[in-house]
């Protein structure tokens, strides 16, 4: 862990009030991760339906959840402050719902202490693109649409 990381994370483990900037950082991070999660599920759904000789577009998703396609485009492409209801709708439109698990920062970051970009081999970097890679939420989809 670098000095700056240690300084940034220290208030989280101190038991004292967490600085507003830290709260903002993690809120933004969660939005970015949720957007990536929804985008990944959309891509997965597209792949599954393509394998069955069909298409699944954002317009299809929008129609299923009674929303405009441009809104779905926004939600898929942008780390906005998604409402819980919207998140539920988006996933249900893909016949899925999320499972939840908390990752404790002390454990997760401790495991990654030694990690540096230089240490990551090319193989590791590209295997990490695998859609099955760990994400903050997992999803168990129902059969393809």
């Amino acid at each position: 862990m670098t000095t700056s990381q240690a300084q940034f994370l220290a208030p989280i483990f101190s038991g004292e009030p967490i600085p507003e900037e830290t709260l903002v950082y993690f809120r933004t991070r969660l939005r970015l991760r949720l957007q990536e999660f929804v985008l990944r599920e959309f891509a997965r759904q597209q792949t599954r339906t393509r394998e069955m000789g069909r298409q699944f577009t954002r317009a299809d998703l929008a129609r299923r959840i009674h929303r405009k396609p441009e809104l779905v485009t926004r939600w898929l492409g942008h780390a906005c402050n998604l409402e819980m209801d919207t998140l539920s709708d988006l996933l249900l439109g893909m016949a899925a719902e999320p499972d939840f698990a908390a990752a404790y920062l002390a454990d997760v970051i401790g495991e990654r202490e030694a990690e540096t970009v230089e240490a990551a081999s090319e193989a590791e970097r590209y295997s990490a693109i695998d859609p099955s890679r760990d994400v903050p939420f997992s999803v168990e989809p129902f059969p393809p649409l």
Binding site: T2, S4, Q5, F8, L9, E20, E21, T22, V24, Y25, F26, T28, R29, R31, L32, E36, L39, R40, F42, A43, R58, T73, R74, L76, G77, H78, A79, C80, N81, A103, L105, V108, I109, R112, E115, T116, V117, A120, E124, R125, Y126, A128, I129, P131, R133, D134
Partner: protein, 180 residues
């Protein structure tokens, strides 16, 4: 000298700083370096990220920017537009030339957000050069000025820049927003 060697030298003399994620989760898929140089009176991105004396609102803007920079390093997918005129809500965009090969990371919150300008030194290696608040980029003229500043800063660091086929030569995991 290879671009990687140039980056090492620039890190060695303090002109570049490799971004270390605030709270690493998962492997680093890409690298991001930040210029420490100031230009035209603008503090560097490094200055702004570490500035604890600014207003609460400003610090929060930069906390969000930090999350975007870290997301660039660790996200498996990066949304980009088919062209910058239709960037919409893409995470990154390559700006329409001129100037050539200039990209921005588009931090949307808190509204109106801010932009981090930079260039790729290699695939998945981004050099963040300059920044501007989105409200100061309302016109093409202001964007051009911001672009010019970033290009001049690049010239203070590197002699040449990376050019590739859009988008896969630049970013692993690029997702064109038209594919959504």
């Amino acid at each position: 000298m290879s671009i990687q060697d140039e980056i090492k030298v620039l890190c060695g003399n303090g002109r570049l700083l490799k971004r270390a994620r605030n709270a690493p989760r998962g492997p680093a898929l890409r690298s991001l370096y930040m210029s420490t140089l100031r230009i035209d009176g603008y503090p560097s991105i490094v200055d702004k990220l570490g500035d604890t004396s600014s207003s609460t609102q400003t610090r929060e803007r930069w906390s969000q920017a930090a999350a975007y920079l870290d997301a660039f390093i660790e996200r498996s997918s990066i949304t980009i537009p088919p062209n910058s005129r239709r960037a919409g809500y893409a995470f990154m965009s390559r700006l329409e030339p001129p100037p050539e090969e200039l990209w921005d990371i588009r931090c949307f919150g808190p509204k109106p957000g801010l932009r981090i300008f930079g260039r790729f030194a290699d695939k998945d290696v981004f050099i963040a050069l300059t920044w501007n608040y989105r409200e100061n980029l309302a016109s093409d003229v202001e964007y051009a000025k911001a672009g010019d500043r970033a290009v001049r800063q690049w010239g203070m660091l590197f002699a040449s820049y990376f050019v590739g086929n859009y988008p896969d030569d630049y970013i692993t995991g690029a997702v064109l927003s038209t594919d959504l």
